[in-house]
Symmetry: C2
DNA sequence: CTGAAAGCGCTTACAG
DNA sequence: CTGAAAGCGCTTACAG
């Protein structure tokens, strides 16, 4: 069933049918409009978007770029609840605006370029800041708007939606201080990682603001994974530094820390308060339930999507990048008062 | 940069370039081939797949169908770790075979039809059996192969990859029996749900096989969610039926049950053994770590994807549907021996 | 308000 | 081994 078929059935030209479909009411009489629409409904006709893309030089496809799990590692980025929730929110918003979502995992820059050229995608969203090295070139070569999350790059034309990472750790550290803690460990290997460094600085800012001396030995440079959390938890206990509380940069890591400290004999939260980061769903399923920092992923995803659509339609965005989204602390049971 | 441009640069016809790109070595001399390929590389040319789809009546796009969260509910299917992990595995396999993945959440049958007609998708995978009512019609109207998971429908031509659900609950129940339990509760509102009914039958089969009488009062018809798990856990404790162990049909529910039973004063697993279902990542993060039934999602996803590709290429599949995948029990800490 | 024609970028018989 | 031409299904100036 094609435009031509409909046109023949209706006894009009293809062009008229096209105008009806595209709602150009000023170019078709109401009578013709009704007749054609009726036939379209009867036949269950839907336009071939490949053909439309070809003429329009636009596709209504948005590419969602995720880093491919390298063959060497076992990592699957879609197992990360963060990533998949983002996709869900973005897909929904795009769909409601008439767009289609092509999900593509990607190793290197040329993968992205070819996706773009292959399908004439109207825009791209990078779910992770992992592939940013390709962005400057990409933005130069293409007129297609691009959005990314949590990038520290400030490239002209790039839509960049971040969280207030510094505030995040500031909030968790401050929370502990307000509850009487002064010996607070920071667990993350923040060096050479812009995002984690921001969080580290938030930790320091809270300490400083409250006149609590910074102690280098309270910094545990473990990666924010579950496994490393366990190691950190064990080490922290065996170090006997009198630490009463811990802040970290990922819920998974916090859960590991709790496990590690427990295995070494601590009771949580009695002997050690722990605050995570991300406010994942699973925070409710652990015991104690995990106090955490919420990034408000829903709003982040919507913000990036809407700015992208805005840029596709108008050529610009109403908010300059980077857009910094607020964070907040979500109180649960893993951090308690010393008073 | 188009075929035409390349042809001009190379001083050959468009057709020759097309043949080079499509590797039709028998139609182009090696010399021409090399020359054209070199120019293609230099220019970084990638073919426009919209145009190709238009002529070929095939798109290399596979539609991944997920149920849209109804406006009324707050459910986001992509928050479900099961769904997103599947997408990750499927996308990777399809990509490696030269296909593109369009993710589409869908409310009703016509949404699917239009996706299909709009983009000429070469195949579709339904991530959930939620939308099966549309399948008979869809399969009739389209020549596009369709794969689904866990459907109880046996429609001719439908690729259907299931798990051995009955065995799943048989295994968890049997495990408990082997560890001395006889008062084992089953928690799930299985009625009117084919999949849950299968699991229920597995529970009964294990009891029967071991000569343990079936007790209707040990069946708790709660839905397999975290919230309902909590309710079930509380009720189970207050009922005082002497139950020492529980099997259920979802890890989330099992975690809820543990929480509910705990809130009512039970210690887990001392007072109550619990076995979940799905072997989610989070099973390792709870305490006690959750014993569960593994569906082997990786293999399920790969099986469906490969059968789909096979059908696209050859018109048939080497395995008849439904394909039943094996399940296994993963021992952790939430179920203990009474001996 | 309506139509005939050209063109988007590719592929595929059909000739040579 | 190579090419000219038609066609996939749509939209967009351009005429009328």
């Amino acid at each position: 069933m094609t435009l031509k078929d409909i046109a023949e059935k209706a006894g009009v030209s293809m062009m008229t049918v096209s105008n009806v479909i595209n709602g150009k009411t000023e170019r078709v009489s109401a009578k013709t409009m009704d007749k054609v629409n009726q036939i379209i409904d009867e036949c269950g006709y839907t336009p071939n978007l490949n053909a439309r893309s070809l003429t329009n030089k636009t596709s209504n496809i948005i590419g969602l770029i995720i880093p491919a799990d390298s063959p060497s590692s076992d990592e699957n980025f879609l197992e990360n609840p963060y990533t998949s929730t983002m996709i869900g929110i973005i897909e929904r918003e795009l769909r409601q605006n008439g767009y289609f979502v092509m999900v593509r995992s990607v190793f290197k820059g040329t993968d992205i370029t070819s996706l773009l050229q292959n399908w004439n995608v109207d825009g791209m969203i990078f779910l992770n800041p992992t592939l940013q090295e390709y962005l400057p070139q990409l933005l130069k070569n293409s007129s297609c708007p691009i959005a990314i999350f949590d990038s520290h790059l400030e490239i002209d034309g790039l839509i960049n939606v971040c969280s207030n990472d510094r505030k995040g750790l500031y909030l968790s550290t401050k929370y502990l201080i307000n509850h009487g803690h002064t010996r607070i460990a920071f667990i993350a290997d923040y060096e050479n990682n812009h995002l984690l460094t921001e969080r580290y600085l938030g930790y320091r800012q809270a300490l400083e603001e409250c006149g609590i001396p910074y102690r280098p030995e309270y910094i545990y440079p473990f990666s924010p994974s579950y496994e490393d959390g366990i190691k950190a938890g064990k080490k922290l206990v065996s170090d006997c530094l009198g630490i009463t509380a811990v802040v970290t940069t990922a819920d998974i890591c916090a859960i590991g820390i709790i496990e590690g400290a427990r295995l070494s004999g601590y009771r949580i939260p009695i002997d050690l308060s722990v605050i995570g980061y991300d406010n994942l769903k699973i925070d409710q399923y652990t015991s104690p339930k995990l106090t955490s920092i919420s990034q408000n992923m829903q709003q982040k995803a919507l913000m990036a999507t809407r700015l992208l659509l805005e840029k596709i339609r108008t050529g610009q965005t109403s908010l300059p990048s980077p857009v910094i989204m607020d964070v907040e602390i979500v109180e649960r049971q893993s951090a308690i008062s010393l008073f």
